[in-house]
């Protein structure tokens, strides 16, 4: 831990200005190291990187989204964390929260792309529509895909926040009228990381940026380009209600005795057994709570097409297409088994009633 003592008095002044003590700052670095799955030996390195970071520019592009991700970030638990990171970075363009407007705003975006080529971080929030030339999302007279190609193509790294930017999300749900896709699909070949979630977890974006500043690379990812530190473990295996699952204690109706006792939400359609995310450990809003803790099943929001494949959200299994909304797998199965039994019984009766005669074997 010695190195951290070397935090310059200048930097400590800056922290103090934000009402953050040296101790808070080191705790923050420790928290991030833990989240990234790094040993505590990395804490000095992280602290150092944050101190010395040369204020890389960050631009935040908003496309087809609901502003839920920026809401999540602004509500970021410890406001101080967001402040530290935002202070380390220079946020030069952010449609929702920047001061400039109109031509001025677009100029600051152009300045970053031209002057900081390959050095800035691009954050994309929202899906990109491709249908009809991409006309369904235009900003300042340019299509989303056009802007993204230029801005992400010239960035040091692109961070997709939320399921929409990562995989298309809700705009891409069936029937996907605007032909929405995620950034990776719209512009293959980018240096990119996906931080899906509906909304994404603000702590994960902080950790990803700190990793980028400390090591100069994006964290290790899975096949879907999601960081392993956040998506390496299954929700169901880290859920606080898991003991009730194994025991066999399930909520059967909202508000029933089991629900009040905090039993497992499996029968209410919880998709925790299908979802890989760090919600149970990191939670949301200063680690206050997360859906299952609040008594609502997981929706498995961090995978492609979750709106199509994980629904109905309050049933365990999907509906069988072509059999109407109310039919479940079991109704069809029982129907099938009953039809077989009835068919065989009818067969037996007809066989018994038909005119007498020996069944013949042919050779």
């Amino acid at each position: 831990m010695e190195k951290t003592n070397e935090l310059s008095s200048q930097f400590l002044e800056v922290l103090k200005y934000h009402g953050i003590s040296r101790r808070d700052f080191i705790k923050f670095c420790g928290g991030i190291a833990a989240l990234l799955g790094l040993s505590e030996l990395y804490i000095p390195q992280i602290a150092h990187a944050l101190e010395k970071a040369k204020k890389p520019s960050l631009v935040w592009l908003d496309f087809q989204n609901c502003a839920g991700d920026i809401e999540a970030l602004l509500r970021a638990s410890k406001p101080t964390i967001a402040e530290i990171v935002l202070d380390v970075l220079s946020v030069d363009y952010h449609a929702t929260i920047m001061a400039p407007a109109g031509k001025q705003a677009e100029k600051s975006l152009q300045d970053v792309v031209k002057n900081q080529k390959g050095k800035y971080i691009a954050i994309v929030d929202g899906a990109i529509p491709l249908k009809d030339g991409g006309v369904y999302a235009c900003i300042a007279g340019r299509t989303a895909i056009d802007i993204a190609r230029e801005v992400c193509g010239n960035a040091m790294a692109t961070i997709c926040v939320g399921t929409c930017a990562s995989f298309g999300g809700l705009p891409a749900a069936k029937p996907n009228p605007t032909g929405a896709v995620g950034v990776r699909e719209a512009i293959p070949g980018l240096t990119l990381i996906n931080l899906p979630g509906c909304p994404m977890n603000a702590e994960n974006i902080t950790a990803t940026i700190v990793h980028l500043l400390t090591f100069g690379t994006l964290p290790a990812t899975d096949k879907l380009n999601r960081p392993l530190f956040a998506h390496g473990k299954r929700i169901h295996d880290n859920c606080e209600r898991r003991a009730h699952y194994d025991a066999g204690q399930f909520v059967r109706e909202w508000g029933d005795e089991g629900h009040r006792q905090g039993w497992c939400l499996y029968e209410m359609g919880c998709k925790g057994p299908e979802a890989f995310y760090n919600c149970p450990t990191v939670k949301y809003n200063e680690r206050t709570s997360w859906p299952v803790q609040a008594g609502h099943g997981c929706l498995a929001c961090a995978v492609p097409n979750f709106w199509d494949t994980m629904t109905p959200f309050y049933r365990r299994l999907p509906n069988v297409p072509g059999f109407g909304v109310e039919s479940t797998a079991d109704k069809i199965g029982v129907g099938l088994a009953a039809a077989t039994a009835a068919g065989l019984a009818a067969h037996g009766i007809i066989r018994a009633l038909r005119p007498k005669g020996e069944d013949k074997e042919e050779s």
Partner: protein, 217 residues
């Protein structure tokens, strides 16, 4: 009256895998049903009902897989009644037999093609039944591979995860159980029917291995 000969049809591995599969399917169906919709609720957290159900499901799953492997192995090593060739009755003559079987089973005709082992229809049916079993195993191991890190589970089923979403795989795993029930219903009915009308010992053969066949074989 013909002279009846006792013919050794079903060798030991065939009978063994038949009854192992029988037990496995019962265990897998009961526990699978529980996993799908837990019908008994625990009154205390000290219990471990879902835990045991899943444990039994997975142990039976491994046994079921081994049983299927032995059966397929025997399709290449065993006698002609067990051979894989009976699963693919696609020669002209055998296809004609298929039509005869169809008429027999739909009660249009009383003529039943003679077979010591499987009839053509039975052979073809078992081909699809084995496919169904294989699908149940692959889809089951696909779900299982979510929590098992290692090399073997992706091979046994994990690859299915890149074809369908997990809920879809669970749905198909679930629905296939009912298809197995349909097969079991028909299987029992036909075995009982033929056993009672043809008196060649179909039912007994899966216990003893022997059938009674007119003439020499």
């Amino acid at each position: 009256m013909h002279e009846l000969n006792r013919v050794y049809v079903w060798e030991f591995p065939i009978r063994l895998t038949h009854w192992i599969s029988f037990l496995c399917i019962i265990a897998l169906s009961i526990t699978g049903f529980y996993i799908a919709s837990p019908f008994a609720h625990a009154y205390s957290t000290n219990q471990y009902i879902m835990g045991w159900m899943r444990f039994i499901h997975f142990v039976s799953a491994y046994v079921f897989l081994m049983s299927l492997i032995i059966r397929v192995y025997w399709a290449f090593m065993g006698n002609k009644y067990a051979s894989w060739k009976v699963w693919f009755p696609f020669t002209g003559e055998r296809l004609r037999e298929l039509i005869g079987d169809f008429k027999f089973y739909t009660l249009i005709s009383r003529k039943h093609a003679h077979a010591v082992g499987h009839t053509v229809t039975a052979g073809l049916t078992y081909f699809f039944v084995f496919l169904l079993f294989a699908f149940e195993i692959v889809s089951g191991f696909a779900i299982y591979s979510l929590t098992q890190k290692g090399f073997i589970w992706p091979v046994l089923g994990g690859w299915l995860l890149s074809v369908w979403s997990i809920p879809t795989i669970r749905l198909l795993h679930h629905l296939s159980m009912y298809l197995i029930f349909v097969f079991i219903g028909m299987h029992l009915y036909i075995a009982w029917w033929l056993d009672s009308t043809e008196k060649n010992g179909v039912m007994g053969s899966i216990f003893s291995g022997y059938k009674f066949v007119a003439g020499k074989e």
